[in-house]
Amino acid sequence: MLQIKDLHVSISGKEILKGINLNVKAGEVHAIMGPNGSGKSTLAAALAGREIFEITQGSVTYMGENLLDMNPENRARKGLFLGFQYPVEIPGVSIVNFMKTAINEHRKFKGLEPISASDFLKMMRDKKELVGLTTNLANRSVNEGFSGGEKKRNEIFQMAMLEPLLAILDETDSGLDIDALKTVANGVNMLRRTDNATIIITHYQRLLEYIVPDYVHVLYKGRIVKSSGKELALELEEKGYDWIKDEA
């Protein structure tokens, strides 16, 4: 599904990622862990197409196509989803309008008619329930005035609405209390299928107790320095990152 080869990414001339290699197949869950400043969020944003990040070297193939040639909206329409670490507040844009526009742009891309109002409302209701989002969304602007937990749940809600093939969740667990964490994890697990994949970016092992990864990678100073099975996450939790730093 996703092949990243020797990916180098810079921002304002400073190199953040220094040669990332990663393969993700359908049905897999990958966790990317690492200390602060190692480049985890840069990797997520670069994959989603954030323009301020400059790709200086390497390639990314997604579903057999060159991902780096696509603009952010086309990446999304082809099934890539980024769950933001810091979801953006957009005053004045209602969630309903936002989601409806997004859904219809996805449908248009697939050559489908716009969704009917009643189908859309039903879909909103179902997906809200699925991810345990109890916030009343009517008349609310995107993320405006949401608590940290609500923002993260709202990301998972959008993911449920858009049914991506490859979801990249950037620190979705940060700032969540244990109940919120469980609901978010539950939502992600419910959305798991054999034809989709998830990359979970996290600082802590906590989330991985609820979403069990197939692979754990450690990112340090812009490189993946260690890849292993799920047991690596426990080891990191126990020993911290220092031993990795020493090994690297």
Partner: protein, 454 residues
């Protein structure tokens, strides 16, 4: 119809126009209107047309726009065609009392239902003869000719416009919609003067729309005085949608008695140059003024909003929120001032101006300021000029929303802050639609109008 021959000196031309036509002007106007002409003449002679050296007009290069030859109508021109057939407002379901004004002269009134007893809606000139006491008390009492040459100029040439009177304890349930139309076969200079008197504990909602019916150049000097009596509530919604050659100078003077509330909402959609001057005086305690404005301009348009809110009494509240979106080579300015006088304690006064520039060549000048002489007040002011929020853009695009649509969503959200405050639901929906079309670059002319203005 008289033609002004331009000598290149606008002030000289206007003075000679007045001198040559004083007789015609005065014979066609009520005594009260004529009473102020002499003072206005002296003031205009002294002040002339404001230049960019006048602080309030620093960012509006009027001289550049006011050059050129314009005809002047000194009598209401009996119009050969039926205006009601030429122009139909495209929000028929709005259900308003409709006043048509042609080239500054009152044309007709169609009542949606009989107006409540005592309410008067008619031409200004007619009213000045019929209601000398009201005119003596209010006409030209708030619009100070000694401070601004354009106010003096309006008073100098004022002949007609609309007069609205709402007696005490009266509620005008349906909005009164004034539609200012410009129609001529030559470039035309238009002077329009309105007076609104809402007495104690009355309530009225006024909608004022500007339209050009021809593609001529119109230079309009419009002035409205509004008196909001004790506990009266006046809503004033303004829609400016004229052709891109038109120049519109618009002065609004609001005088407020205690416990009154005035809410003004100006939406400037289209026009060559639009200059709005808002003056509100909170003369009685516990009164409230809300002034909102939205302008959308592109090409070479210029929109300037000047606001002076004068807190002259204690315990009053005022809010100003003006927003602008500028594209291409458009220029705009906001100059807003809150003046809190010595005795106006417990004042709450807020002022905000936010602008978005969509191109690197659009320009916006903004100057929010406070002048406070009382010591127990709460005031704030602020302004921003920026581009669309790039984080929000990326967020929307990362969900599959195309760049163009994402821009539109954000601009629309920005504008909606003002449009959302319009108090008439049907009008609000219509304006939302117009703003939406305008932001998509589609023509914002009203659907039923046959004239492709702009």
């Amino acid at each position: 119809m008289n033609e002004t021959t331009s000598t290149g000196d606008i002030k000289k031309d206007l003075i000679s126009l007045f001198r040559q036509n004083t007789g015609i002007l005065e014979s066609g106007s009520g005594q009260v209107l004529n009473r102020y002409r002499e003072q206005a003449f002296h003031d205009f002679d002294r002040l002339g047309i404001p230049t960019t050296r006048t602080e309030a007009y620093r960012y509006t290069p009027l001289e550049k726009y006011l050059q050129g030859n314009y005809d002047v109508e000194l009598n209401a021109n009996p119009f050969e065609i039926n205006l009601k057939q030429v122009f139909k407002c495209d929000i028929p379901e709005m259900d308003t009392h409709v006043v048509l004004v042609l080239n500054g002269f009152f044309y007709s009134l169609s009542q949606a239902e009989p107006l409540p007893a005592g309410v008067v809606v008619c031409g200004l000139n007619e009213a000045s003869v019929k209601f000398p006491k009201l005119f003596h008390d209010h006409y030209a009492r708030y619009a100070d000719t000694s401070a601004d040459g354009l106010v003096a100029l309006n008073t100098l040439f004022a002949q007609d416009g609309v007069f609205i009177y709402v007696p005490a304890d009266t509620l005008v349930y349906k909005p009164i919609q004034i539609i200012n139309l410009s129609h001529s076969f030559k470039n035309l200079r238009i002077t329009r003067r309105n007076l609104v008197v809402a007495e104690e504990n009355s309530q009225v909602n006024i909608v004022m729309c500007d339209h050009t019916l021809c593609n001529q150049q119109y230079l309009t000097n419009s002035l409205t005085e509004v008196v909001t009596g004790k506990s009266a509530v006046v809503d004033y919604n303004r829609m400016q949608n004229e052709n891109t050659q038109s120049i519109h100078i618009n002065n609004l003077f609001v005088h407020q008695e205690e416990y009154s509330r005035f809410t003004g909402n100006s939406i400037s959609l289209h026009g060559g140059l639009i200059r709005n001057n808002f003056y509100a005086t909170l003369a009685g305690p516990y009164s409230e003024t809300n002034l909102y404005g939205l302008f959308l301009c592109d090409d070479k348009q210029h929109v300037a909003n000047y606001v002076l809110v004068n807190h002259a009494a204690p315990h009053c509240t005022s809010n100003q929120l003006f927003k602008g979106i500028l594209d291409d080579n458009a220029t705009g300015s906001f100059n807003g001032k809150i003046l809190v006088q010595k005795d106006a304690q417990k004042t709450l006064a807020y002022q905000k101006n936010n602008n978005i520039l969509l191109s690197s060549t659009a320009r916006m000048n903004t100057k929010p300021h406070l002048e406070i002489y009382a010591d127990d007040v709460k005031c704030s002011h602020g302004a921003t000029v920026g581009q669309l929020d790039m984080d929000a853009m990326f967020y929307l695009r990362s969900r599959g929303i195309g760049e163009k649509e994402a821009r539109h969503l954000l601009m629309y959200a920005f504008a909606n802050d003002i449009v959302g405050k319009i108090s008439i639901p049907i009008l609000k929906d219509r304006i939302i639609e117009l703003v939406d079309k305008r932001l998509r670059g589609e023509l914002s002319r009203c659907n039923n109008c046959d004239i492709r203005c702009g």
